[in-house]
């Protein structure tokens, strides 16, 4: 299962690929994700311009740190509306880590904060049976096109919050009890883990997203 990254992606560079638009969120590890997307074969645009985001066909929403700060940044810059416009115009969207959490209706971080409402359910803090944050690799049981070839992959997580048993769940992991590791609702995807830090398995998920139509 081990390949050099260049080998993983060479096949896909030969075929035509839709441009991927990475939202240049100030609270995120954008550079790492950009690099991973490029290695996974994306023709990449990195932007925080709401017009470019609204007209994008394939979006990636990164995020680390606090849900509230990330959501505030989206609304203050008109990016929440731009994302909604893009999705209603048929764009696909992949949220990563806190970007995945932002897709949900709400998070209970500091009371209740509304999210983008593109995925049903609520993000909650782990119940404290195991130490939080979860920092490390965890085995995921997944299905669907995003996880093609890595249905039982191991991915790298850094999180204190997660959705539990979300209706749109496509991948599940266990950390002192089951939690939702990834979701899909029509063209909107979210992964709780860091694909850009999950070696070949993570690059495979990104490649699957880039190739998905």
């Amino acid at each position: 299962m081990w390949h050099r990254h260049s080998c993983l992606c060479s096949v896909f560079r030969r075929v035509w690929i839709m441009k991927t638009t990475l939202i240049d969120s100030s609270v995120a590890n954008v550079a790492n994700i950009a690099r991973a997307l490029r290695v996974a074969g994306a023709e990449l645009e990195v932007t925080r311009n709401p017009k470019s985001i609204a007209s994008a066909k394939k979006l990636v929403l990164p995020g680390v740190g606090s849900f509230i700060a990330a959501m505030r940044w989206l609304t203050e810059n008109g990016i929440d509306t731009a994302i909604h416009n893009a999705v209603s115009n048929g764009a696909s969207l992949l949220g990563i880590c806190v970007g995945h959490q932002l897709l949900f209706d709400s998070s209970n971080e500091m009371g209740a904060t509304s999210g983008l409402g593109l995925i049903r359910g609520e993000v909650r803090q782990f119940d404290g049976i195991l130490p939080v944050p979860q920092i490390g690799w965890n085995r995921v049981a997944a299905r669907g096109p995003l996880f093609d070839g890595v249905e039982n992959g191991v991915f790298y997580f850094v999180n204190s919050y997660a959705a539990m048993n979300a209706p749109d769940e496509i991948a599940r992991a266990d950390y002192g009890g089951p939690f939702t590791a990834a979701v899909q609702r029509e063209r909107v995807f979210g992964v709780q883990f860091h694909p850009e830090k999950s070696s070949a398995a993570g690059l495979r998920v990104l490649r699957n997203y880039i190739a998905w139509t």
Binding site: W2, H3, R4, H5, A31, N32, R35, A36, V39, V64, G65, I129, L130, P131, P133, I135, G136, W137, N138, R139, V154, Y156, V158, A173, D174, Y175, G176, G177, E196, K197, S198, S199, A200, G202, L203
Partner: protein, 488 residues
Amino acid sequence: MDVIPSLDLLDGQVVRLLHGDFARVTAYGDPEAVLDSLDVPRGSRLHIVDLEASRSGKPVETEIVPRLASRGLRIQAGGGIRSLADARMWIEAGAEKVVIGTVAADAPEVLRSIVNDLGTDRVIAAIDVRDGIVRVAGWERDATASLAEVLARVEELGIGEVLITDISKDGAMRGPSFALYRSLKTKMRIIASGGVSTISDVVSLSRIGSVGACVIGRALLDGRIRLAEARARVATPNAIPERIIPCLDVRDGRVVKGVNFVDIRDAGDPVECAIRYEAEGGDELVILDISATDANRSAALDVVHRVSESLFIPLTVGGGVRTIEDFRALLRAGADRVAINTAAIRDPQLIADCAREFGVQAVVLSCDAKRMGDHFEAMVRGGKESSGIDAVEWCRRAEELGAGEILLTSVDRDGTNSGYDIELLRAVTSIVKIGVIASGGAGNVEHFRDAIEAGGARAVLAASLFHDRRLSIGDVKRFLASEGIPVR
């Protein structure tokens, strides 16, 4: 694997004996109050030992059983059961099973009569072992049969469960006898007992195929293990893989490796090494900058940047981090996590400041520990100088301050290939909840297993072993998997 709380009873009270010595008693109080404090849910198995009976041969604590059974607990009672009449007393009092020790080893005909009368599923055979020899009668004398003979005899009777206690480990918090449990040849479900003192001990036991349950006494009573957490961890023993972390010691932009922190050799280009390690299955990469001067530190930043550009696993960088600005510069250069060592000892607040600024997941305490008589001291300046601070206490303090993980290096073992310092690892892993990365001393695949299994490490680091290609990361992972330890 089932996790079974265990209460030793003497004069109606919950007690512990150190090394089975009736002269060394610690009292914990009334059984029901103890069960409340341990949060033992309905439906749990509960192991009780009638200590007076184990010595005198006459059950005296049977009246407690109906009270415990009324809480929905499934009681397995032991201690001094030497006749069918004794066994019946416990079952009639409401115990689900009886735990038969002395006669299992000494009087097979009595054990047979108990099994015939009560049925095999009502009987757990108990064998106490010290240094591989079966011990009986409240641990005060050797049995006449060998361990293998006793096991074979019990299995022949159709008994499904055998409780094996290593009494040299019991109550001493030094960890269970993993090697003993691994070596046992039996089809029976083994209940491991003795020495279980950390969550990691419970997880490690659950990975040994023949071990079906473990009993925990003192570690629950002392609050070292929470029952709910232990049960959660063993419910999904394979979910969280243990990590193998290759380390690059970098000086002046080149990978080097020293023995005992001196005698440094050149070992190659860091980017090439990093790519090879990820391809081999490294779960994370550590870069330790051992440059001597500030000028060379900016060379190290460049190394971090170049390595991070080629790497898709987490990258931890340490060495020479003195300020929050140094920390930030390494994160900007591409590190996911930064290890702080000497500077944190001089100014512990640096840990708290960095945790607040960058999140606990980014903060790794790097502790170089050296044995000094009966304790370990935290070393500074690349392991060359003692700080005078107790290393174990320092790790506990760092967790409190906000470190997300501890990179614990044995200065004594570093570069010796003689194995990780298990005693040092246990001393730290038994008092912190955050992960500990074992470092210093790797020489063969068993060393990696022991650091995880007995040392309680959540990750194991090695440098020269991988550089010199004496072992590959794949070799280590294949061995760990064959020993039941989950790897990616």
